[in-house]
Subunit: 176 residues, 2 copies
């Protein structure tokens, strides 16, 4: 049975959407996800500057509990889990408070994936799998299997990997 | 640079020692680590029966914070980290409260290993490394590198793996 490693933030979970809301509230602006995807470099630069200066909420208790699940993620991961061995692999040890919250979140949305198949780490390069679905090039560059780049505003400029834009595309790629 | 994956409980940390104290307090007996290592099968059976019926403290907040570090572990891991890439790999996602506590514990005793090289998981068979030092045969059986069995009372009957009895032996094996 082939193994798929799946990232959480911005792959299973709409983390950037929540981050945008928090940044807007902190700096009094009106950034939107759609404009981050389609806007000018200057727009993105302004957002990421504000983000880097105001992201201490990532370390606060509660942040990772209330993130919406990505469209079609539950259904497609469920179908994938019937054909593949699924590991959820989240680079989360930087955020000590997130760990228990991420387990709770997984139990809420993906109860068919137990703690036995959830991995929290820093670096991901010691993960052995056939596929890694991730939004960060740093994780994909060192991966020894087939990397799949899940589209997010911060990776639109990357062209080194096979790109998947949403869970329906993953379904088509890995289940048909 | 070769990579070593190192388990926490009963390898870096004297977890069974603390478990024995907790069980003794709960059932009013006087089990000792030395007798678990050298005693009769009946003695061990009695302990593990009591343990399996009274181990809910493993899920309680605080348990994993106050575990003594194993003899020579700090010095040897420090020396190993100069020659090998070290990952700490703990099967901890079964115990949601342990995760943050294990990060705190690592920072206290092994500050030279950062969150980037700490992994919390359930199964360990997707970990890619040259060596895995672990006290549980279930983790070593599926490992694709060289497994090293760290001696603990519950694994004295296992003869399938190269055994290491303490950190001095690991130093001799991997650094000389």
């Amino acid at each position: 049975m082939k193994r798929i490693a799946i990232d959480m933030d911005d792959v299973l979970a709409k983390t950037t959407h929540v981050i945008i809301d928090r940044i807007n509230a902190l700096v009094g602006k009106e950034f939107t996800y759609d404009e981050l995807m389609t806007g000018t470099d200057a727009y993105k630069q302004e957002f990421y500057n504000d983000y880097l200066q105001n992201n201490s909420f990532l370390w606060e208790p509660g942040f990772f509990l209330d993130i919406p699940v990505n469209e079609d993620a539950i259904e497609v991961v469920k179908r994938l889990s019937e054909k593949y061995e699924i590991f959820i692999v989240s680079a989360a040890t930087e955020f000590p408070n997130s760990l228990k919250e991420k387990l709770t979140w997984m139990e809420k949305y993906f109860p068919f994936i137990t703690w036995k198949h959830i991995v929290f780490c820093g670096h991901k390069h010691m993960i052995q799998a056939d596929y890694l679905i991730d939004d960060h090039e740093k994780n994909l560059h060192t991966f020894t299997g087939t990397p799949l780049l899940f589209t997010a505003p911060h990776n639109l400029h990357i062209s080194d990997f096979k790109r998947v834009n949403n869970w329906k595309e993953i379904e088509k790629l890995l289940l048909n």
